[in-house]
């Protein structure tokens, strides 16, 4: 056997499946069923990492989720993962792990110098220094950052898959230990839909590490029986290797299931991790408990381990973590470690009990085996750095120090109930004097803690708790319970009480006694913080960082609080634990994001003509979730050249654009007219049937929120168009007003955005092109009108209007036929030299005409008056936002006002967003703050005008026509002339209705 600490027999590992793995480059072996931690211990490797602040050598402390020390970096390259708990990582063939936070190597770590300087680095030392000289702070900071931080992030994108799963149940049971299994059985037997989730690789909880019996059989046989029964029930879902990690309001819990370890090959096509989103009517928390460490000088040395972990490695994995063991304890339970290890043939040097007497049944058994038991002790220290070599103990009454040679110290100060999930859900906690820990105070409405998670120490108690809670939960869901006798015989020696106060017996000795292994917080740090006034748990936590590490203080917090109480000379009952927050166990960002990454990151919306655009080389831009063609460059063409070409085609010939993304809302009903008048600030009721009009919508505060065109389809029927971005919000807005403010109006609104695709044909030759294809008289259509027609055989709504300020049509057709119509139009247009134009050209064209664009000319602080729209406000009817327009600030004459802006040089295109000044300046540094009187909202080169054009908002702009202003661009003042906001067709021939 290569694994020198592997026992000949025993354990739940599969000895027929040896596995090879590497740690820090060393090749080692283990078995299927091992964790990395058990395999390392089997190979005699205790030193596994360096601590966070002082870079102290650290070994495996625990056996599961509580582990603070054995954090390793696993796998390489893009699959590498930092801060993985070796105690939970299931071994697989070829696994590669390495230690963290050390340089150059684990054995020789220069960071360890910090340990020597530790007296200069007490809690919060950085707040007291590094202030002078100020310019050196960045250097100090860089050094601090390098020293901190544990593992390394991968450098490349994660190649693995993750997904989500929603689940609903009557009863969620967290934890498949004795209590959880009993609860799940009881609930499921009542017919409840049950989810049983457990974070370990197999069910059984703590029983997996013990040698208990239930009903005269091995407890693990009972576990397999229970699991078999559960698995056979159709309404039960068992989630193995699933940590329930977040407990949110209204019975919502988040779990994370692990299918593959980092770097483990993927033979089945399942995700690496799955995030469970569980909605539970009732939750039974049977999450067990965590063993509490003792506090004594150098209690962080490798080879010092929790007592349960020491025996569980033996019982569960067949691993002897040492060959000469001292058990140190403040409770009876740890005597089991002596018994179990001795039974496995491990040498027990002594049991050192901190309590004044050790006379219970378990101590008696230990003594009976001839093992020395020392009582009334305090631990004064240990020998050994990279591995414990001896324990030094003394009677608490004083006297000689005895040094007991050993290579493993198994310690216990009792058990800490896992109340995390209970507390996350606002469950209140209460200090239990007897157990020395916080336990749930009563129950929450739909949540209950059972078994060790509520402080129940005995197996029998855990089973009873579980059965009862499972039944009650099912009953609460309306399912009748079968009343069963659930009393199960277990063999459990009676235990003497814990002496949790005794664990600080050595505290007066000084030396470095760790209370938070993860963040290197010592007894002295806690006391210093208290002296300095950081003497409430929440301040203490933040000042010392105790409980803020990767393990969130699972093992340490209770000792920190007890020390705090002691330092304040107050009872523990006056102390409240710090807030428990999700996640219980760190949750990968990959699992949270699930499948919604890369192309699935957010929904992508495409119009029916998308493939056509793509085929023509369109460059797309994101507009909200939509993909819209921005321009269609010919080979080698620049954006500007393409836009020029597209614009000129619209001005001189004919061009086609896809405007399907605009919102369309069907509004009908007897009160449609009144409704639409209230929604728009312009008057829409005056429209004749078949006529259209442009309008603005305001928020209640008078600011513009969307614009669009309303078409009257019938006496009681309108079609309202919105901006692309406003499609959903305007629809929701209308519905809100109808339902909440104007329920008396008989109107139905229906979004038809997706039903229609819309095609714009623009340019002087659009009529020529379209004329022959339609079954109506286009000539007879006035500007700003709408007709139902068939276009090339496709039923359509033809609008005579354009957003380009020139002649044009828009044709709305059912989306399913849009592609066909588009290609027909394009084909028919070829003899007119038709081309497609994109959003960029649209922007230029509308700016030439001075049409505003919501989001360019508006920003939530712009009123209709600011855009020169006051003449078209229908002030004699009510509309949303009307009253606001009369507020003092909105009546100011010097409000910013829409104007045109022309540069001196026709080819100088101002950047959009450039600020405008009254006077030129040399440099803002000398003149700051410089008064800004407005900014450029839209700016383009207009091929049609053969010059640059711009729109802007300028303070008091209406009175400034002809003035010279200065646009501030990249440190240069550019002269601009204020004009009317219109660069084309000043007569307004094609103005919107």
């Amino acid at each position: 056997m290569t694994e020198r600490n592997r026992l000949e027999a025993g354990g739940r590992i599969d000895r027929s499946h040896p596995l090879e793995f590497r740690f820090d480059g060393r090749s080692l072996t283990g078995y299927r069923g091992d964790t990395l931690a058990s395999a390392l211990l089997a190979n005699g490797v205790h030193l596994v990492g360096r601590s966070f602040k002082y870079h102290r050598p650290r070994g495996v402390l625990g056996i599961g989720a509580e582990e603070p020390n054995a954090l390793v970096q696993v796998a390489r390259g893009a699959q590498t993962e930092p801060n993985v708990r070796a105690t939970q990582l299931m071994l697989y063939e070829g696994l590669e792990a390495s230690s963290q936070n050390r340089w150059p190597s684990l054995a020789v770590d220069l960071g360890g110098l910090a340990d020597l300087a530790s007296s200069w680095m007490p809690a919060g030392f950085y707040y007291k220094t590094f202030m002078w000289p100020a310019r050196l702070w960045p250097f100090y900071e860089r050094a601090i950052r390098r020293m901190a931080g544990l593992g390394r992030a991968p450098a490349a994108a994660d190649p693995d898959d993750y997904d989500h799963m929603h689940a609903h149940c009557d009863v969620l049971v967290v934890g498949a230990g004795a209590a959880g299994l009993a609860a799940a059985l009881a609930a499921a037997r009542c017919g409840a839909r049950v989810i049983l989730a457990d974070d370990q690789s197999e069910a059984g909880g703590q029983l997996l590490g013990e040698r208990y019996e239930i009903g005269g059989r091995s407890a693990l046989a009972w576990v397999s029986g229970a699991m078999a029964e559960l698995r056979a029930m159709s309404e039960v879902r068992v989630l193995q290797r699933t940590t329930i990690t977040g407990h949110y309001d209204h019975g919502y819990l988040i779990g994370c299931q692990v299918f593959r370890e980092p770097g483990q090959p993927d033979p089945v096509g399942v995700p690496r991790q799955r995030l469970w989103k569980i909605r539970a009517r009732r939750t039974v928390i049977a999450a067990g408990s965590i063993e509490r460490p003792l506090v004594f000088p150098d209690n962080d040395r490798p080879g010092i381990m929790l007592a349960f972990a020491a025996r569980a490695y033996c019982n569960r994995y067949g691993v002897r973590s040492g060959s000469r063991v001292v058990v140190v304890t403040a409770c009876d339970d740890a005597y089991r470690t002596a018994l179990d290890l001795a039974a496995a043939g491990v040498g027990i040097a002594a049991v050192v009990d901190l309590r004044p007497s050790g006379s219970g049944h378990l101590p008696r058994q230990v003594r009976a085996r001839g093992i020395e038991v020392l009582i009334g002790q305090r631990i004064v220290g240990v020998r050994g750095r990279a591995r414990v070599e001896a324990l030094r103990t003394q009677s608490s009454a004083g006297g000689a120090i005895r040094e007991i040679a050993c290579d493993l110290v198994a310690m216990s100060a009792g058990w800490i109930p896992s109340v995390h999930l209970f507390s996350q859900a606002r469950g209140e906690l209460q200090f239990d004097e007897r157990l020395g820990v916080f336990v749930p105070l009563g129950r929450l409405e739909n949540v209950v803690c059972v078994g060790a998670a509520r402080g129940t120490a005995s197996l029998r108690g855990a089973l009873q708790d579980g059965f009862f809670a499972g039944q009650v939960a099912a009953q609460a869901c309306g399912l009748a319970g079968r009343e069963e006798a659930q009393d199960i015989a277990t063999v459990e020696p009676e235990e003497a009480p814990l002496d949790w106060r005794g664990i600080f017996g050595a505290a007066s000795l000084g030396g470095r006694q760790f209370v938070d292994f993860q963040n290197d917080v010592t007894v002295d740090d806690v006391r210093l913080a208290v002296r300095e006034g950081y003497d409430a748990p929440e301040h203490l936590k933040r000042y010392t960082t105790a409980g803020m590490g990767v393990d969130q203080g699972r093992t340490g917090n209770i000792n920190v609080l007890a020390l705090l109480a002691e330092a304040r000379a107050e009872a523990m009952t006056t102390i409240a634990p710090t807030t428990f927050r999700p996640p219980y166990q760190a949750l990968s960002f990959g699992a949270i994001a699930g499948a919604l990454v890369g192309p699935l990151h957010a929904p992508t919306r495409k119009t029916p003509m998308h493939d056509w655009h793509a085929g023509r080389g369109a460059v797309f831009e994101n507009v909200g979730q939509w993909k819209r063609p921005r321009h269609y460059p010919s080979a080698g063409e620049t954006l500007q050249a393409a836009v020029d070409r597209e614009c000129l085609a619209v001005r001189r010939g004919v061009a086609i654009a896809d405007v399907s993304t605009l919102g369309n809302i069907d509004v009908q009903g007897p009160d449609a007219e009144a409704f639409i008048d209230r929604i728009y600030c312009t008057r829409m009721s005056a429209l004749g049937i078949g006529r259209c009009r442009y309008g603005l919508m305001l928020r209640q505060d008078g600011m513009i929120f969307d614009d669009g065109i309303a078409a009257r389809l019938g006496e009681q029927h309108y079609l309202v168009s919105t901006t692309t971005a406003g499609a959903a919000s305007v629809f929701a807005w209308m519905e809100e007003w109808l339902q909440t403010e104007w329920p008396d109006l008989r109107v139905y609104c229906t979004s038809v955005t997706e039903h229609y695709a819309q095609i714009a044909l623009s340019g002087p030759r659009s009529l020529e092109l379209l004329g022959p294809l339609v079954d109506i008289e286009l000539d007879a259509m006035p500007f700003m009108s709408m007709r139902e027609a068939r276009v090339a055989g496709v039923p359509a709504r033809v609008f005579r209007l354009s957003y380009t300020g020139g002649p044009g049509f828009e044709i709305a057709v059912p989306a399913g036929r849009a592609y066909e119509l588009w290609t027909t139009l394009f084909g028919a247009g070829e003899r007119f030299g038709i081309i497609a134009y994109g959003t960029e050209a649209m922007h230029v064209l509308r700016a030439e005409r001075g049409f505003i664009m919501v989001g360019h000319e508006t920003d939530g602080s712009v009123t209709p008056g600011d855009l020169g729209f006051e003449g078209r406000l229908a002030m004699d009817k009510p509309f949303i936002g009307k009253r606001s327009l009369r507020r003092a600030d909105l009546l100011r004459l010097d409000r910013k006002r829409l104007v045109g802006l022309l540069t001196q040089a026709p080819d100088c295109v101002l950047p959009e967003g450039a600020q405008l000044l009254d006077e030129p300046i040399d440099s803002p540094q000398s003149a700051a703050p410089v008064a800004m009187i407005g900014h450029v909202t839209s700016s383009y080169f207009s091929a049609h005008c053969a010059r640059s054009i711009a729109l802007g908002l300028v303070r008091g702009g209406q009175a400034r026509l002809g003035d010279t202003l200065y646009a501030w661009v990249d440190g240069r003042a550019i002269e601009v002339t204020v004009t009317a906001p219109r660069f084309l067709d000043a007569a307004g021939k094609y103005a919107y209705g």
Binding site: H250, R426, E735, K882, R883, R887
Partner: protein, 94 residues
Amino acid sequence: MLLIPCPWCGPRDETEFTCGGEAHIVTPRAPEDLDDEAWGEFLYLRTNPKGRCAERWVHTHGCRRWFNVLRDTVTERILTVYEVGARPPQAGDD
């Protein structure tokens, strides 16, 4: 994740809904008669209560109906839901 009982569709995840802010804010009948102060009060001032709070929600990704919810802003408990326009019911003590 709140579980909101839509009066029509039954309990659904919060993500299907949109909160529309405080309920029972009465739009003035004659806004033109109000001075700036009174109008500003209507537009902006809110009770923002800690504890029991009546608010409007809409089932955006469900039936699209608006309704009122009486919720405790400290415990997040939903005490009751009721129709738009109805007066807030006097829900019993929790």
